[in-house]
Amino acid sequence: MHISENVVSDILVARINGELDMNSAGKFRDFVTSKMDELELNHLILNLREMKFIDSTGLGAILGRYRNLEKDNGKILLVGLNPVVKRVFSISGLLKIMKEYPSEKEAIKAVKKAKIGGQK
């Protein structure tokens, strides 16, 4: 697995490339945590268009980040779920707490709008 990233105001946009399973979950957690801590970012947009595989351990790693950000009212927003990925997110219940957006741009807009609305 490889992650490429982009920072927009207080948002980390992370694009996951390859497989997110028990072999790469630790790398995912370390990358996201250190990037967001270092730059004091609040929200995480995950672009999963190039993600080739995810299982419950990968979902667990994403849920872990969610719990972490939640404490400071940070959000995780999802982009680019293919049908199978969408199904595992849905079965796991994660789609109830993280919303999907049609593009990174739309997701960024949603974060900014929520802020103006005063919800940080």
Binding site: E19, D21, M22, N23, F53, D55, S56, T57, L59, G60, L63, G64, P83, V84, V88, I91, S92
Partner: protein, 148 residues
């Protein structure tokens, strides 16, 4: 002879991908469509990850994987000789996990993505999971034949 293959791995996390790819390559010769193959990958990943995390928590052990073609369907058996399971009924509950930070979703995914599965275990002896899936195309064909 119906096709058949066996594999033996060490419970290292990097071998979860090897198990997944080997089984899905075997399965690709049956009549599964792409999303069924993805489902098989998830099921194998969950079962092998369980061996790495739960069966051998303190040291590395062996994982045995058997794949078989039976009546145009796929049969997979994944076996460890690790710690085993105390209470099978409990672990079959969705969201139940004996490990903190784990979602307890592995067996639920296997249940969703395969037609059938059986979990056999004895504490201290190890665990065996058997899974079965028939391609939708074959099911349809067999149904059409029996209807007409």
């Amino acid at each position: 002879m119906n096709n058949w293959a066996k594999m033996e791995l060490i419970s290292k996390s990097k071998n979860v991908g090897l198990a997944r790819i080997s089984v899905v390559t075997f399965a690709a010769e049956l009549n599964f469509n792409l999303s069924e193959l993805e489902e098989i990958k998830v099921a194998v990943s969950e079962a092998v990850t369980n061996c790495v995390i739960h069966a051998y928590p303190f040291n590395e052990g062996k994982i045995m994987i058997e794949m078989k073609e039976i009546d145009q369907a796929l049969f997979i058996k994944i076996e460890d000789t690790g710690v085993g399971i105390e209470d099978i009924d409990a672990v079959l509950e969705p969201s139940y996990s004996t490990r903190e930070g784990h979602m307890g979703l592995g067996l639920a995914f296997i249940d969703s993505f395969m037609d059938d599965f059986t979990l056999l275990s004895e504490a201290g002896e190890g665990t065996t999971i058997e899974m079965y899936k028939k391609p939708e195309r074959i099911k349809k064909r067999q149904q059409d034949n029996s209807n007409g």
